[in-house]
């Protein structure tokens, strides 16, 4: 709701709020229902019985980007599709994280061609790369755990989406 933007400094209130928020965010990472190519099937498989992404509280694949926190770029990112991916990323509500899943999304993979974007990080900021062609569902879970680790070490006022609020104390210069 943007409340966190009103807090600055390093006192007990801010740090414990930081911990609480990070705990909540890291334990309920809702991914976007979004898949591009063959890797998407492995992403789907990671929600099924043998692997079960819901153990981490992440089985809530939201169909609307407004409600999702994580977008998994699962597959070959062609130039034509890159416009949509960028738009979906922009539509997501902050805070948001990105996983580039598989060789294609990380660096273009086997498709060294004019039609394929050579890595999703050319259009949107990527937090975690998962290697493999395709990565196994266990690797997707490992990537998700890496995201959770990253969220737990974040500080609210150092996030990209942090907008300094009214309570900020002006610094000397």
């Amino acid at each position: 709701m943007g409340l966190e933007n009103q807090l600055v400094g390093d006192n007990v209130l801010v740090t414990s709020l930081n911990k609480l928020v990070n705990w909540g965010r890291s334990n309920s990472v809702w991914p976007c229902t979004f898949g591009l190519a063959c890797c998407a099937l492995e992403m789907i498989a990671s929600t099924l019985a043998d692997f079960d992404i819901s153990r981490f509280g992440s089985e809530v694949f939201r169909p609307s980007p407004r409600q999702s926190d994580l977008i998994i770029i699962a597959g070959t990112l062609t130039k034509k599709m890159s416009v949509m991916v960028k738009r979906i990323y922009d539509q997501m509500a902050d805070p948001k994280w990105v996983i580039a899943m598989g060789a294609c999304a990380s660096c273009g993979g086997v498709f060294k061609s004019y039609a394929v974007v050579q890595g999703a990080d050319q259009i949107i900021p990527v937090d975690v790369y998962i290697p493999g062609c395709p990565p196994r569902p266990e690797a997707v879970l490992a990537g998700l755990m890496k995201i959770q680790e990253k969220i737990r070490t974040e500080r609210l006022d150092q996030r990209r989406d942090f907008k300094p609020g009214m309570l900020e104390i002006p610094t000397g210069n």
């Binding site: 309920s28 509280g57 407004r66």
Partner: protein
């Protein structure tokens, strides 16, 4: 003074607090149960068997960015979740949770209000609450949201009919509109309305699940057709409020089934309050079970089911009940 003001306020806080706690944990039960139905575990990592999952979701949603689209109707867009949740919570006021208790020598009834038209109050407010869904879809300036709102209004208009007719036959059997009287009339096991009115029970269950927009009938938020329908543009707490309203409606629906058909809080050995929640959660579990079992119907089939099957059956049931009541009484 105490009778007029303090006791009702305390009762209100306790009832709403306890019920909203149960409602939040209904989401956990649903995720766990769905997991086990699909041979998965469901949430496991936060707390014991994921017990803190609703809390984590709430914290996450509370600190998420709020999006109001440019071409949304801003005032209506912001009002819709409020309408949804407030009318859902208001329904809890007339439900009898248990027998009267004596605390500090004072007789305390376990319901907030007992209007003589209790069941009409619930039917009316539940329908007003669905304005939240409809307005939310229409005001968000999104074609999927618009379609979701349209479908929500179509569902309400059609399924409210068979729901009301199912309730009507219960009213004829009991001879009263008050929920408290209805519970009082079902004291013995064989008096439960589920045995007297099995057809009405089935009609009420089916059209109730349809009114709740739950899975075999989740037309307004069909994920595969409409992305998530009416709440597509909502993020953060506004989305959570819609979610909460939906689960509050589920809770109210389950407690209505308990009150109307399953003898309310009556039961042997255990205290009435416990019986009420046992039955309510059994009904909620059946709803989750249905969600895990049956895939979504096609839109025209949903409408056919109502107008060509449920409504005639409910009407015939009302007429048959009327004849029997007239002959016996």
């Amino acid at each position: 003074m105490t009778d007029l003001l303090i006791i009702p306020i305390i009762k209100m806080l306790v009832i709403f607090g306890v019920c909203l706690f149960f409602v939040a944990y209904t989401t956990w039960i649903e995720r766990k149960a769905l997991g086990h139905f699909q041979l998965r575990y469901g949430p496991m990592r936060v707390g014991y068997h994921g017990l803190l999952q609703p809390l984590a979701d709430a914290v996450k949603n509370f600190f998420k960015e709020e999006v109001v689209p440019d071409n949304a109707d801003r005032a209506v867009f912001l009002m819709a979740p409020v309408i949804s949740i407030s009318f859902a919570v208001m329904l809890l006021a007339v439900i009898p949770f248990g027998p009267a208790m004596t605390i500090f020598g004072k007789r305390i009834d376990l319901y907030l209000a007992n209007p003589s038209i209790g069941i009409l109050f619930i039917l009316g407010l539940a329908t007003i609450g669905s304005y939240g869904t409809i307005l939310g879809g229409w005001s968000s300036g999104n074609k999927y949201g618009y379609m979701g709102g349209l479908r929500a209004s179509a569902m309400i208009i059609s399924y409210e009919l068979s729901l009301a007719f199912a309730v009507l036959s219960i009213i004829m059997v009991t001879g009263s509109f008050s929920l408290v009287d209805m519970v009082a009339a079902q004291q013995h096991f064989w008096d439960w309305n589920i045995f007297r009115e099995p057809v009405a029970f089935l009609v009420f269950m089916i059209s109730g699940i349809a009114e709740l927009n739950r899975t075999p009938f989740d037309m307004p938020e069909a994920e595969s057709e409409l992305c998530c329908g009416y709440n597509i543009e909502y993020s953060s707490m506004k989305f959570s409020l819609f979610f909460l309203a939906e689960y509050t409606h589920l809770f109210v629906f389950a407690s209505l089934v308990t009150t109307l058909f399953l003898g309310g809080w009556h039961g042997p050995v255990l205290p009435g309050l416990v019986w009420f929640f046992v039955k309510t959660f059994a009904v909620i579990f059946v709803c989750i079970w249905i969600r895990a079992t049956i895939p979504r119907l096609r839109y025209d089939k949903v409408m056919k089911l109502e107008w060509k099957f449920l409504l005639p059956v409910a009407l015939a049931n009302v007429i048959a009940t009327g004849v029997v009541v007239a002959l016996l009484g």
